[in-house]
Amino acid sequence: MLTALFHIVIFPGLLFLGVYALFFAFLDRKLYARLQNRVGPPWFQPFADFCKLIGKETIIPEGADRRVFVSLPVFALAAVTAAFIYVPVWSITHPLYSFEGDLIVVLYLLTIPTLCFFLGGWYSTSLYATIGAVRALTQLFSYEVPLFMALLAPAILAGTWSIAGISAYYAAHPLYILINIPAFVVAMVACQGKLERVPFDLPEAETEIVSGTFVEYSGRLLAIFKMAIDCELVVVAALISAIFLPFYAANPCLGFLLFVVKTLIILVLLCLFRASMARVRIEQMVMFCWKILTPLAIIQIIVNLLVRGSLA
């Protein structure tokens, strides 16, 4: 009971995830700044932002449903934290909690924040927020399919639906990773939509619809929402690195170090995407996801099925 509570609240749960997410947010911003030939923010910037937002006045719009409006950020953060519990952090042979099918659970838990963004925008009863909310949902229907298929394709080859099982399979057969490279590319591009980052940051597009779904959120609620987004970045990076970069060490300390290195590699790639692209329009985004990413992911699944068939 106590150890479970420790895992949920401190490590690798809320506290560790929160601190690591803020550190990630700093690295992301710093790298982005360096790529623009700027100095960038100091290391404590995300911590300062968080502290400031916690201490600010929280305004709830008159037309908004108070209870839903307040609970949505908490729901988003809780879902992301719950998803992180199932992602192996220090060891893939002895994962913390793992069962056959946790990959599906993690993917669905990662969908909840997006739905919270949608509902948050919808309940704000502001025009900008509503547009942002509708965009968030439209986007969800386009990136979710290629993202799911890209993450499930390696699972088909490995013949297991647990994240730790997939990692262990590819660690035992390292050459099979090369087959999954197209799926890796699809997952990296599609998760930009999930994380609402450039080029798919349409729901919050601050230059056209102010800041979309978060327009009416302020103070503490905004801080929790921002935290949920930062944590989602860590969870997605950890998930992708567990499936596509399954290098592991038997020693828990080394394993944890390897986890940090792997997630940092994913972060650098995501940041390069963000820095080198501009925002696309919503219909371009939908077209791209359905016409290019989805067929690529389908081909990957077919290839993996064939490889698995020929191995059997």
């Binding site: 700027r38 300062a48 400031k52 937002l53």
Partner: protein, 151 residues
């Protein structure tokens, strides 16, 4: 009364993370271009933790340019009231400080401080980006002093 750890952390956060929103109250666009200039990678205000926000709900500092015209008077008030506490106002340019050459014009209400309280004035026609950044730093230093005084 001394402040506890959390209050100190919030105070520190306020000094280190001023998010701004830019509002044109009736400027000739000269100061607006300088404000946008100050936000470019060349001046890199993110060093100070400064970020531009789209909505007043996320902002701490309202950066106003231009003399307040009768048309924008109510809008300026509205934007100011939409910002969550604590909030600060920067008046950028001579017109924003006092009305400038438009003072007394039939359609002009006066400087920014004729409508909402102003925390820092930046003179200049147009105000230079360096002056704007300097004003932000001075605002944060003054904030630190007032925080120390209440400790």
């Amino acid at each position: 009364m001394s402040k506890n750890f959390f209050e100190k952390a919030v105070d520190w956060g306020r000094r280190k993370s001023p998010w701004i929103i830019h509002f044109n109250a009736g400027a000739c666009n000269g100061c607006d271009i300088e404000v946008v200039d100050a936000l470019t990678p060349r001046y890199d205000v993110e060093r100070l933790g400064l970020l531009q926000q789209g909505t007043p709900r996320h902002a701490d500092v309202l950066v106003c340019t231009g003399a307040v015209t009768l048309q924008t008077k109510d809008r300026l008030k509205q934007i100011y009231e939409q910002m969550p506490e604590p909030k600060f106002v920067l008046a950028v340019g001579t017109c924003a400080c006092s009305g400038g050459i438009f003072d007394g014009c039939y359609c002009v209400n006066g400087g920014i401080d004729s409508v909402i309280p102003v925390d820092a004035y930046i003179p200049g026609c147009a105000a230079r980006p360096e002056a704007i950044i300097d004003a932000v730093v001075k605002l944060l230093t003054a904030l630190e002093q007032s925080q120390k005084a209440t400790e």
